[in-house]
Symmetry: C2
Subunit: 501 residues, 2 copies
Amino acid sequence: MNQTYEQCQAYMKDLSALSGAMGLLGWDQETMMPKKATEARSEQISALAGVLHERATAKQLGDWLHELRANSSELSADEQPCVREWLRDYEKSVKIPPELAKELAKTTSLSQHAWAEARKKSDFAAFAPWLKKVVDLKRQQADALGYEGVRYDALLDNYEPRMTVKELDPIIEGVRQGLVPIVAAIHESKKKITNVLITKKYPEAQQEKLCREVVVAMGLDGDMSRMDRSTHPFCGGTHATDVRITTRFSEKWLPAALYGAIHEAGHGLYEQGVDPKYYGTPLAESISLGIHESQSRLWENLVGRSEPFSRYLFPKLKKYFPSVVRSANAQKFYEAINTVKPSFIRVEADEVTYNLHVVLRYEIERALIGGDIQVKELPGVWNDKMQTYFGIRPKKDADGVMQDVHWSAGLFGYFPTYLLGNLYAAQWWEKIQKKIPDLNQQIAKGKFLVLREWLRENIHRHGRRYSASELVERVTGKSLTAEPFLAYLHAKYGNLYGIKL
Amino acid sequence: MNQTYEQCQAYMKDLSALSGAMGLLGWDQETMMPKKATEARSEQISALAGVLHERATAKQLGDWLHELRANSSELSADEQPCVREWLRDYEKSVKIPPELAKELAKTTSLSQHAWAEARKKSDFAAFAPWLKKVVDLKRQQADALGYEGVRYDALLDNYEPRMTVKELDPIIEGVRQGLVPIVAAIHESKKKITNVLITKKYPEAQQEKLCREVVVAMGLDGDMSRMDRSTHPFCGGTHATDVRITTRFSEKWLPAALYGAIHEAGHGLYEQGVDPKYYGTPLAESISLGIHESQSRLWENLVGRSEPFSRYLFPKLKKYFPSVVRSANAQKFYEAINTVKPSFIRVEADEVTYNLHVVLRYEIERALIGGDIQVKELPGVWNDKMQTYFGIRPKKDADGVMQDVHWSAGLFGYFPTYLLGNLYAAQWWEKIQKKIPDLNQQIAKGKFLVLREWLRENIHRHGRRYSASELVERVTGKSLTAEPFLAYLHAKYGNLYGIKL
């Protein structure tokens, strides 16, 4: 058994290294690559993807893994979860017929292009045939993967392994029922707060210095990471020792860069926080997109948009932008970064309404994959839901159903992980506040390392040893629910807007 | 035949794309990578090297290529040289036993480390056992590759395909015999010129602007390239549309950055100058390191250290460094960048003595691989040759036999390509001056595009269609000789130093 395990481990370590190379191709494309290299880069990515697929689905690998599973009682406590996760990935990979994989890659590439063009003209009819093709292929993919409950489960599992609609539906429903009255109460509140402070002109070079200072304070190891610029912020890289975050700068919208950097650094801390002895194995990989997002959101919102964080940050704003913030204070900044207002665009939404955007997308994509609504009905369904949940109605589809790239790219099942990230984060937070009683004082002083260590110890270092639900249970003593998140919003926004929630 | 060719071409295009990915791993390591990622990067490079080797030596590829060669009369004029070059590469690759390849990779990696450590203490005895191991393995590699003349031929062929000692020896001998009297005459000349001007303090940020302006003027396409910093300047990248040059900055040694950038941009123009319709085939690859170096050296020396180039450049120096060059002029700059003085370190040598450094290394490594001298004799042999050729003797081996990384890395056969580059360059230059009669006026005006087009048309766009010797014959009407190079030195340095050469 030992020998088989070692062969398999070496093979998978190699595969992991090749995935790292792929990570570099992707990062470079968004940050460094000369613009005329687009075609060559797409060939490089496609060639390496072919190698990765070939190796991930090799018969030899399957033979090793089945042999190891058959003798799993002989494996150590570290080896067992590795074999379990390798086999899970392997079995998913081999279920997709190569022709379908190619067709999907090709169609989603063309479809994203069609979406970008149609979106410019807000022309949903031009995009609809492409979306229909993508939906058809994703249904085929779901059927190839198989599922126990509903077809959407198979797609959700690609991003949030082991999560099902049966578990997710009541959670999402709870979020929706909890959020709509909060949004309405804030809308009707007498107390108004304003974001004017963060729409003043903040010179870019100084913003960059601020971002670097904050991510270092968070504990992101600069010898194992770098920060660059890209159109859309992301966290990528090639390895736990080579984490690459990006942000973007908008001179008259301070949160773009600052909260972009904090968010991505939260992802980066998860990547860096795995146990070095497991590098190259599933025990040094992230559990799911939802758990990953719980780390970025925790830092961005629960830490970064908190009152003590504003007290930590405001002196830095005075240092970097003395004339801009001269007549403001920490409380004004706290209010400015927490104004709530219904809006059309998800990525620009505040901490509260953001989640309603996700609820809306989840409900729609779930029905679309389930066959309960058709592509042509999407704009109407979208706009009606916007009216019901937000009280506003998009004037054009570019600000509505066509705003996000996800569907054109075939990423059905991805959206809910954004919301799950907020829920996991709030549930961790509830626990953290009990475990670190002086957390608020620490944050106000810019001391983030105790928090980072807690996250490392309780979440990061486990890699994929536990499933997301096992981890939540293990860390918080209960299953995932929307309650901690809603309680957090009630307390915070009740106070900010002077209302009882 | 058509179908076999197409399969083979698609396969090789994929392989070429994977090589591009490897290029990115290498470039990034020297320019962007966080410092603690060293180990992970080496695993990524090793994993991808494994894939490349596996694919380059696949039996299926050999079958296709042998079939194509057997029916080469059915191939087009473009297909024939592709098959010829693919087969050449394939046959070289399969000749190396995998165990030897692994042993070489491992030993040269350790040996480079040993060299770096031993060099710090100038302790040749500590490095000698490693060098002996490397030499033994390189002899084994040469025997596996096979050769008609002498063993060194097999290694030389790795960098300068189809070149042999039989052809090279008389050329090198001619260079040596031509250079030694030039160096002596310059040493004894009454006229002295000085490099003081280029040792003043040139602020780094301004140097960078100057470098960027010059490489753009040379015609390097900024949409298909980028320029960064690294410890040692190089030209890398992933594709002709993604060429990446680097340079390094020294505030009190202007040539480091400027001539580093010009040199690497010369390489970059070759990479960018291939015919796009052949991307991914040998017809869009470089012929040899010598031919590659002929492009970098042509720009660095024949253009960049010329009198008309000084007239072009000096106004830019006045623009970027007004106070530094206030009391100088173009002629002073021309003299400063062309001072000749025997010195110990190859990479810091002037345009004349540089070549004697290479002659010395060639003679030694050829004897070492041939078994005519032993590793332990190296310091003595080196120092004696320095005395004979340069009239100076190193005080320590760190400034002598241990100065270059090449031997520890197993790069036997590489050094002569530096010299060949200068010879090819001078032979092109002789022709170019006839074909572009007003070249000097163009250079003085900073008009480099006619020159770039000539190089593109006559050299770059052929890729590997012709061998180096065929290309030289085709372009210049004669075989490679040292005469144009020596004639160039005689004219230029005779004039600069007021001596008859």
